[in-house]
């Protein structure tokens, strides 16, 4: 797939996801004008970009959907529940059409049937049913009567962006290219934004053009005229008989009185407008004018406040993060050198540099961060569909959608979440009748909750269903030889067995879940993101799946310690406190690996023993108290060095089986420090504790 096509797919997917979210939000919270406008623009963008690639099926379908959205936007048609459902189906269908077009395939009969059926429904939803077709035919007749076969009368609207003149391109030369591809039937400059002589900044561009152009060339050829200035102009190209585009253009350039300009200059497309109404002088007129003025000011204000987004290849951000990582390492060397040389000034400069690097790092990391809600909203529809399919009634809620997470992590976690949600609905939540007989509300509740916690992001999937069948899971695991017949497992260990490959306790295999394929993949996917997943379940009350994911994948704030001869890094955000393991605590321990920390038992993990380190080189021993989820342990270490910006480097295949270590980092001295995998260490330590 070439780069342009890839960009098109990405953009179309974004627009479609956006449409889906907007529709689902309106389904729940009611119609809002802004979302309807945005829906129209999304469909319009898809149509326009698909046209550039000659994807006629996409363009044809999107055009009709866009027409209906335009009517909704103008308040001519009410957006009903049924219509939202149709637009959701249209969104899915457009997605399929794009897939087929990109793969250079043709519509099969089944898809064609769906296409025709959806088009019929969309058209019927237009005001007066077929009225749109009639209007369109009228407009086509107006245009077509003077055309040769194959010729199209295009409307081209172009506005030079302020910086246009600095590009060195001259729009006059660009306009002359039109004559090579066809005939300019009408051209008029748009002068509305050109200031008076005393106000003009002569190096800025304010000009625009409306052009009617007769040509047999396709859209892409015409657009190519603007190839070298495509980012320096605002360009719209559409067929002159596209009633809705004409209206959209006139609306967009209302401040230029474009409608009057087109009528005055006898543009063909202007024939769709009724003659300008004669103003009626009433006492209300000044008030209406004032209101219109206020509207304009408000609109302008909104336009000014709009930020713009920039599409950047994620690999460029990764490259930037890598470069910052190398700078962090280089700076650590400078700090080390300053210490050796006892050079205060160098040390101070290096510290300033270190702070600045941290700020840049946070800034770049933030570029990758997205609100999880934008992506999670799609689950609403999936839950809805699955619930309908298995005849269950579900109240699904998303809490903490504003929580931010690395975009790549959000994308990768999407499939596991979808799988777990399907399982919750299919197997967790009971049927409405069962629930009623159990004295539960008829509708089951499924919640997807996201929140930050101790340097991680927690995603919880909670249902109020029947809970996991502990006995069945254990029996099945024993029968499949996954656990030993005599093994004594805790509840959590039993629940975790559902992540073993090939274990499904579902009595009925549905097309949604129950094949035992998937939960192992779910766990693997989560672990590949350096995350963990835990299950808690209460019979008759429901289950909670808790996923913990690291906030970032590249650089973390670490805490440097030493044990024996090796330096280690503990992720700073997991650290609760550091205490000295003095004689008072040692006396308490009396051979056990516990201390009493403010009246609570704290299990200790002796790093030196655990990793077979040599003798301590320090006079004192320390305990670093770390927390992960609901658990706390104390890490017994020798030296505490303090905070350290840690660039995570993978350790490679050789060390892949080294438990409790998630990676390495390079210190300023060139030494390697190993980064603790706290969740793994904690899991192992807790497993050692007698039940």
């Amino acid at each position: 797939m070439n780069e342009e096509l890839e960009l098109f797919c990405e953009d179309a997917q974004e627009q479609l996801t956006f449409m889906e979210n907007a529709l689902i939000t309106m389904q729940e919270d009611g119609i809002d004008e802004e979302s309807v406008g945005a829906l129209f623009r999304a469909m319009h963008t898809i149509k326009g970009t698909a046209g550039m690639f000659g994807f006629d099926d996409v363009v044809g379908f999107a055009h009709i959907a866009e027409n209906l959205l335009s009517e909704v936007r103008e308040g001519k048609v009410e957006l009903t529940e049924e219509m939202i459902e149709t637009f959701l189906q249209s969104k899915d269908h457009t997605e399929k059409l794009i897939e087929i077009a990109v793969d250079n395939e043709t519509l099969d009969s089944e898809l064609k049937e769906i296409n025709d059926e959806l088009l019929k429904v969309l058209k019927l939803m237009m005001p007066g049913g077929k009225a749109l077709d009639e209007i369109k035919v009228d407009a086509e007749e107006i245009v077509d009567e003077n055309l040769d076969e194959g010729d199209v009368l295009w409307h081209i609207s172009v506005r030079l962006k302020e910086h246009f003149l600095s590009t060195g391109m001259d729009i006059i030369n660009i306009l002359s290219f039109f004559n090579l591809l066809g005939e300019v039937k009408n051209i008029v400059p748009v002068l509305a934004h050109i200031p008076l002589l005393e106000d003009i900044d002569p190096v800025k561009a304010y000009l625009g053009y409306e052009i009617e152009f007769l040509s047999s060339e396709p859209y892409s050829e015409i657009e190519e005229i603007f190839e070298f200035v495509i980012d320096d102009v605002v360009l719209e190209i559409f067929k002159s008989n596209d009633t809705y585009m004409v209206q959209a253009l006139v609306d967009a350039y209302e401040s230029e009185n474009l409608k009057e300009l087109l009528i005055k200059n006898q543009f063909t497309c202007a024939k769709i407008f009724a003659p300008l109404e004669t103003p009626v002088e009433t006492v209300l007129e000044p008030v209406l004018e004032l209101e219109a003025e206020i509207d304009k000011v408000e609109k302008k204000k909104k336009e000014n406040q709009k930020s713009f987004s920039l599409r950047v290849d994620s690999s460029k951000i990764d490259q930037l993060i890598n470069q910052i990582s190398e700078m962090v390492i280089a700076n650590a060397k400078i700090i080390q050198r300053a210490d050796v040389l006892d050079d205060n000034e160098l040390s101070e400069s290096a510290t300033i540099m270190s702070d600045m690097l941290e700020e840049i790092r946070t800034g770049v990391m933030n570029v990758r961060m997205v609100q999880v809600g934008d992506s999670f909203n799609k689950f609403k529809r999936i839950v809805n569909d699955v619930a309908k399919k298995v005849e269950k009634e579900i109240d699904f809620s998303i809490i903490g959608g504003e929580t931010e997470l690395d975009k790549m992590v959000v994308e990768k976690i999407s499939d596991p979440l979808m799988h777990m949600l399907r399982n919750s609905i299919d197997h967790g939540v009971e049927t409405p009748e069962e629930r009623e007989s159990l004295g539960k509300p008829r509708r089951g509740a499924v919640t997807l909750k996201t929140y930050p916690d101790a340097g991680t992001i927690v995603i919880e999937i909670k249902d109020d269903g029947r809970g996991l069948p502990k006995d069945k899971i254990l029996a099945k695991a024993r029968a499949n030889g996954i656990v030993d017949e005599n093994a004594q497992l805790s509840d959590k260990e039993i629940y975790n067995l559902i992540f073993a490959a090939g274990l499904s306790t579902a009595e009925k295999v549905s097309d949604i879940s129950g094949r035992g394929v998937g939960m192992d993949v779910v766990k693997r996917n989560i672990e590949s993101l350096r995350g963990t997943v835990e299950i808690d379940s209460t019979p008759g009350e429901g289950s909670v799946f808790t996923i913990r994911l690291p906030l970032t994948l590249a650089i973390i704030d670490g805490f440097l310690i030493q044990s024996g001869d090796t330096k280690y890094i503990i992720p700073l955000e997991m650290i609760q406190e550091c205490i000295e393991l003095d004689s008072h605590y040692k006396k308490q321990m009396s051979g056990n690996e516990f201390i009493n920390l403010r009246d609570s038992m704290l299990p200790l993990l002796d790093v030196r023993t655990y990793f077979n380190e040599g003798k301590s080189q320090s006079e004192r021993e320390n305990v670093v108290v770390v927390r992960y989820g609901d658990y706390k342990i104390g890490m017994m270490v020798d030296e505490l060095f303090g905070e350290f910006q840690t660039v995570i480097k993978p350790l490679g295949e050789v060390f892949s089986k080294l438990g409790g270590i998630s990676g390495g980092t390079i210190l300023g001295s060139g030494e390697i420090a190993l980064i603790f995998d706290i969740p793994k260490l904690m899991e192992q330590k807790i497993r050692e504790i007698p039940q």
Binding site: L165, I172, L175, I187, L197, E198, I200, P202, V203
Partner: protein, 89 residues
């Protein structure tokens, strides 16, 4: 009358030309002799449009004089012959 002693006017001249026009605009009428000019770009045309607007605003006369065929062709391509007094604004 303002004489332009250049064969071509473009983006590189537009700022100084703007200053000259502002000076010229102080006169009761703005007459510009384009006799020596054979080529202009859109930045100059845009400046003329701005001058045209200001002239209309203050009811001053603004005329581009001695526009040769080559230059007229550029005005035509830019759809701005109204600046030459043609009634197509």
């Amino acid at each position: 009358m303002m004489y332009i002693d250049k064969d071509e006017l473009n983006i590189y001249d537009v700022e100084s030309f703007h200053r000259d026009l502002l000076q010229e605009f102080k006169n009761p009428e703005v007459l510009i002799d384009m006799k020596n000019v054979n080529k202009i770009d859109i930045s100059i045309i845009q400046l003329f449009i701005s001058l045209h607007k200001s002239s209309q605003d203050s009811s001053k006369k603004f005329v581009l004089q001695n526009v040769n065929d080559e230059l007229r062709f550029i005005f035509e391509r830019a759809a701005c012959t109204f600046l030459l007094g043609d009634a197509d604004e």
